[in-house]
């Protein structure tokens, strides 16, 4: 009944202006914070809007659902005292024949910048896509896990006394469309604005670890990126390996000449839930200890890069 009510609330708000997300101060502890974020994004917990009404997100597939997710993420950014910027884009479809038949892809990336504490024009970019791969797909692991991870790293980085580079955190739209439209558009945006990007670290599917070995996969890292991840993975006793996976947001940047890597669970070794892009990709599947371990690795790497 509550979920039916959520649909009506969502439809009601689709006819009005954007709903205001009401958010209390999030939990300070990483595990509790990540549980809350993934829980709210995957419909396990409610998102509170105006006047105490509650929405349960069934997924982040439709424009309306992605709008709610966008507003939710914006609120998290604003709580940290940062500005959240919307990057609206249009992209061509997978080929010109499809373009003749249908409208262009349209979406919105969200990003924020945690400025360096010393003057710098260089950026380290963290990214995760916020859409899901089908109707009624909660997307807890794909990609609530990536979102929770980069938000956690942002929270920790905001407390660093010294940052010699700017940290840009981006939530990509439409990764689940054929051409990873959001990240492709953002890569072009970075190039067009001639931004000095040190590297892009994209996190996708980072919440499943059936064999509990904490193993992490790096897709298409260059030597420098691989070395820094290995350095900290060794300290944290996290097994790590590399792959040539191209089917995520990182490849959009590599294609545009920007150093990038995708960090994920041991996807190509078969350590997957089997529920990707299905209604079964729910909160209950997420291995939060693994996610926290991966978050610690990510933060160690990013902290090092920000201090270089």
């Amino acid at each position: 009944m509550t979920r039916v009510l959520s649909i009506f609330i969502l439809l009601f708000y689709s006819c009005k202006t954007d709903p205001q997300i009401a958010m209390q101060e999030p939990p300070k502890e990483t595990l509790a914070f990540q549980k809350k974020v993934i829980g709210q994004l995957s419909g396990e917990f409610a998102i509170t809007v105006n006047n105490g009404e509650e929405i349960f997100l069934k997924g982040r597939w439709s424009k309306l659902e992605r709008n709610i997710a966008k507003l939710y993420l914006t609120k998290h950014i604003e709580i940290l005292g940062l500005n959240c910027i919307e990057h609206d884009y249009q992209m061509t479809n997978v080929n010109p024949a499809v373009d003749l038949l249908v409208e262009p892809l349209q979406g919105t990336n969200l990003f924020t910048i945690l400025p360096a504490t010393n003057p710098s024009d260089e950026y380290v970019v963290l990214g995760a896509h916020y859409d899901t791969g089908g109707r009624n797909v909660p997307g807890a692991i794909d990609n609530g896990s990536g979102i929770a991870l980069i938000l956690s790293v942002l929270r920790r980085a905001s407390k660093l006394v010294t940052r010699n580079k700017n940290l840009m955190v981006v939530f990509f739209d439409q990764e689940e469309e054929d051409i990873s439209a959001g990240s492709l558009a953002f890569a072009q945006y970075l190039k067009k604005n001639k931004m000095d990007i040190h590297s892009v670290h994209s996190f996708d599917l980072i919440g499943w670890d059936e064999d509990n070995n904490k193993e992490v996969e790096l897709a298409l890292p260059d030597e420098g990126i691989e070395n820094i991840y290995r350095k900290y993975a060794s300290k944290l006793k996290i097994p790590i390996y590399t792959s040539t996976v191209k089917s995520s947001d990182h490849y959009s940047f590599i294609k545009n000449g920007i150093r990038a890597v995708c960090v994920s669970q041991a996807f190509t070794k078969g350590d997957n839930s089997g529920e990707k892009d299905t209604p079964g990709d729910g909160f209950h599947l997420v291995n939060f200890e693994y996610l926290e371990s991966s978050t610690n690795l990510a933060f160690a790497v990013i902290k090092d890069l920000l201090n270089e």
Partner: protein
């Protein structure tokens, strides 16, 4: 002497609406780096304008071609919509919306325009104005 061919009102409206629709699409795609649509529509408009300048055979051919292109466009979209409704083949939101109910309404409207143009193309004159 004015040698411009006048188009019957039964043709003028559907041709204008269809050209405007695809011109908008062409401009939109040109703005994001795909020039196929604008080139195609540009060619159609160019030859229509040439045909209007007292070249009735050319005008008739272009208008007939244009109606067939619209019918092909609408027909393909209706076919894909049928696939989508029966097999839910398009997982992605973008294509799912393009071949959903609103997309179907647009396709049917363009189909109707294409039929109107093809049906009324005989209203165009067969000879040049001074013959």
């Amino acid at each position: 002497m004015n040698s411009t061919i006048k188009i019957n009102s039964k043709l003028l409206l559907p041709i204008t609406i269809s050209l405007m629709f695809f011109l908008r699409k062409g401009i939109q795609y040109a703005g994001i780096g795909n020039y196929w649509a604008i080139c195609l529509i540009g060619l159609i408009i160019y030859f229509m304008l040439r045909g209007l300048n007292n070249r009735p055979k050319l005008l008739k051919k272009v208008v007939r071609l244009w109606s067939i292109l619209i019918l092909l466009w609408a027909g393909l979209r209706i076919l894909f919509t049928g696939f989508h409704f029966t097999t839910d083949v398009f997982d992605e939101y973008h294509l799912s919306m393009q071949f959903g109910l609103l997309g179907l309404a647009l396709s049917i409207m363009m189909l109707a325009l294409g039929i109107m143009i093809l049906k009324n193309v005989h209203y165009l004159p067969l000879r040049k104005k001074d013959e």
